[in-house]
């Protein structure tokens, strides 16, 4: 029996690899989105309980270490690892725009922190940072077109192979029946 196929059953930025691997793709996107939120976790937890009072290091030999700063320092390598895992296992390509936005906010906040004696950073520095991130986003957007073409070709070739095999199977069954 010939079975009908769906038309472009997947989203444009993911490859159709079967039912088992869509779970991995879902978890990969969730990890990439979590990596956007992790650097701001210390600001979120500040509202719930006083993290600056919880001291992890309280020796006279070293500087004091809060829970606040410890979460911030640990969030950096963990977010890098999440983004790498998301790239390996096929996260949704549009989730990386959220990473760009969170990076822009992090960079803007740290530059404003450098100018804390003055109160706020100069306007030119903020404009330069915004232009840098816009250029990177545009380059990413242009490069994504190349991969979109490849994915369409892969799906087309997979479908044609399935259809040719169905035709051949039907013809061999006819020949066996005739014998």
């Amino acid at each position: 029996m010939i079975q009908e196929q769906n038309r472009l059953s997947t989203q444009q930025s993911q490859i159709n690899l079967g039912k088992r691997k869509t779970l991995i793709q879902k978890w990969a996107t969730i990890l990439v989105l979590l990596s956007c939120i992790l650097p701001f976790l210390n600001n979120i937890l500040k509202n719930f309980f006083d993290t600056e009072s919880v001291l992890l290091l309280n020796n006279p030999y070293t500087k004091k270490l809060d829970l606040d700063t410890a979460i911030f320092f640990f969030s950096m390598p963990i977010s890098y690892a999440f983004i790498a895992i998301g790239g390996l296992f096929g996260a949704h390509k549009k989730s990386y725009y959220a990473v760009f936005i969170s990076c822009y906010f992090q960079v803007a906040l740290t530059t404003n922190y450098l100018f804390i004696s003055k109160g706020k950073a100069f306007i030119y520095t903020e404009i330069c940072i915004a232009i840098l991130f816009i250029i990177v986003a545009v380059i990413y957007f242009l490069a994504q077109k190349y991969y979109k073409d490849l994915e369409i070709m892969i799906e087309f070739l997979n479908k044609t192979i399935d259809r040719y095999s169905q035709i051949i199977r039907k013809n061999t069954q006819k020949n066996e029946v005739d014998r």
Partner: protein, 85 residues
């Protein structure tokens, strides 16, 4: 003459191939014709050309279909494939 993006060109040829398969299932096409026409489309998709909509219409007319373009509001476009036998 406006040129079409390569990804839209591939999508339109993909729709033509789906239409060919539907015709084979319903019985209008024979298997020999189907295999010949799918090979033509496959070789057309491999080319890295910036073509216009007229070129795609000529390709579809060789295969036996009419390609039309329907324009929605705010510039959105849907392309259709119609059988001609």
């Amino acid at each position: 003459m406006k040129l079409i993006d390569s990804s839209e060109r591939l999508k339109i040829l993909f729709l033509v191939s789906d239409q060919l398969w539907d015709d084979l299932i319903s019985g209008e096409l024979q298997e020999e014709e189907y295999t010949v026409k799918i090979d033509e489309i496959r070789l057309e998709m491999r080319k890295e050309i910036n073509s216009s909509f007229l070129d795609l219409q000529n390709i579809a007319s060789k295969i036996g279909y009419i390609l039309t373009k329907k324009q929605k509001a705010f510039g959105l476009i849907n392309s259709y494939v119609i059988a001609r036998n």
